[in-house]
């Protein structure tokens, strides 16, 4: 018989007991209202402690910290000429585009919202991609060069999502460059999302905003030099992207669930 000490009840509440012992505690609890109340209290303190600190997780990390950690890298990115390796853009409308006049880069090196985040209503937002979202579906199931029309126009100016290229980063993760296009098939936002091989979750590692007219720079954004290519190349270089996958490779991987 397991003695119902505070520690045992806490471990039970935390799901930290071995299965057999947890089952013993569970049956002992049936006849012990006092112990049940203690378990409930341990659950409540855990929940409150976690929730009390969630705001820190969603606010931007001070840029100074990011710079400290990245060191020289933030100043002199060794740019790989990814544009050369990238597939020619398959869509005819691309050639008709005026060069983006203003691009804002959000450096999202490794996944989290440590810089000023784009509003969440954007079709492509830094951070984890929600499981059932349109972006998740496009990343998981659509080949490069095929625009997918978004059912609900809830996102700022984005009517379509299109994968532009697929590649492996230096950690051999699958990453896909994706664009959000407006009604006129003009790209508004570009992003790079990578897939965690451990759990299959996609994470938007960086986004570049492609504005039609010069937008005032906002704090937290790093204004880029000139055009979209610079921005994405910087981002891709940080990830260590050197070569895109061929359409066949992409197709095969997709069929096998990216494994």
């Amino acid at each position: 018989m397991t003695r119902l000490t505070d520690e045992t009840l806490m471990a039970y509440a935390d799901g930290a007991l071995p299965e057999a012992e947890a089952a013993q505690v569970a049956s002992a609890l049936e006849h012990d209202a006092e112990a049940r109340a203690i378990v409930a209290e341990f659950r409540r303190t855990a929940e409150l402690s976690r929730v009390a600190f969630t705001d820190v997780m969603t606010e931007p990390v001070p840029e100074q910290l990011v710079r400290t950690v990245l060191g020289a890298e933030t100043r002199g990115v060794n740019v790989v000429d990814f544009a050369q390796a990238r597939k020619p853009r398959p869509s005819p409308w691309r050639t008709a585009l005026p060069l983006a006049a203003s691009v804002l880069l959000v450096l999202g090196v490794a996944a989290t919202q440590f810089l000023q985040q784009l509003p969440t209503e954007h079709a492509i937002a830094l951070g984890p991609v929600p499981k059932a979202s349109p972006l998740a579906e496009v990343l998981e199931t659509k080949p490069s060069g095929t625009p997918v029309t978004l059912a609900r126009r809830a996102t700022e100016g984005a009517d379509h999502l299109m994968i532009v290229a697929t590649f492996r980063d230096r950690k051999a993760r699958i990453c896909r460059e994706v664009e959000a296009l407006d009604q006129a098939m003009q790209p508004q936002l570009a992003g790079v999302a990578c897939r965690d091989p451990a759990n299959g979750d996609w994470m938007v590692e960086g986004t570049a905003r492609i504005a039609a007219s010069a937008a005032p720079s906002k704090p937290g954004y790093v204004p880029s030099g000139s055009d979209e290519k610079d921005v994405l190349d910087g981002l891709l270089a940080l990830l260590g992207a050197t070569q895109t996958l061929s359409a066949d490779e992409e197709q095969n991987l997709m069929r096998q669930g990216w494994r």
């Binding site: 471990a11 935390d14 303190t45 409150l48 705001d55 910290l65 060191g71």
Partner: protein, 180 residues
């Protein structure tokens, strides 16, 4: 900077929000948490070669943040009380648009304030296990104490927290230097 170095740096950047949360749970105020984290990151970068690839980077970084915080409070012993006093005001929204969240936020600020009142040994196990999700065993390994000690500290911390939250009159206003 070699490729491995770069990878680790990127992974640390990805960990920053969690490290910051951990530092805040230990330190009680954002300013102190960010100071501690800044120093901890500088320390970590100075000894990246001591990190064993294949082991958990988060635990390694938590450990550095923790020792940095302890060093910091030792150095500033006299000012410790002022530093550890959680800044209730900073948790309250200044923006009118999020006015409706005020009540909930204030409650959470009280939880934070109570956590800040816990003895250091209890606060750090609460931060590592309950907030950051380490297992009892991982926390025991990191702190170099038996798992039984970890569990007793954690259960005492949470009992104390529950009592404090159930007794509003003995809430954070009770603590030294807290705004009423």
């Amino acid at each position: 900077m070699n490729a491995t170095d770069t990878d680790i740096r990127h992974e640390i950047v990805a960990l920053l929000p969690r490290l910051r949360r951990f530092a805040l749970a230990l330190a009680g105020s954002r300013d102190l948490a960010d100071d501690v984290l800044q120093t901890a990151c500088e320390k970590a970068l100075g000894r990246l070669e001591q990190f064993t690839p294949g082991t958990r980077l988060d635990s390694w970084m938590f450990q550095i943040v923790r020792t940095t915080f302890i060093d910091h409070t030792r150095r500033q012993q006299r000012r410790q009380h002022a530093d550890l006093t959680p800044d209730l005001a900073e948790s309250l929204p200044s923006d009118a648009r999020i006015h409706e969240q005020t009540a909930a936020r204030a409650d959470l600020a009280i939880v934070r304030a109570e956590i800040a009142q816990l003895p250091h040994e209890q606060r750090e196990v609460l931060a590592l296990i309950t907030i950051e999700g380490l297992s009892y065993q991982d926390a025991a390994n990191m702190l170099g104490v038996p798992i039984g000690t970890i569990m007793s500290r954690l259960s005492r911390a949470r009992k104390k927290l529950a009592r404090a939250l159930d007794a509003p009159s003995a809430g954070p206003g009770h603590a030294e230097g807290m705004p009423q």
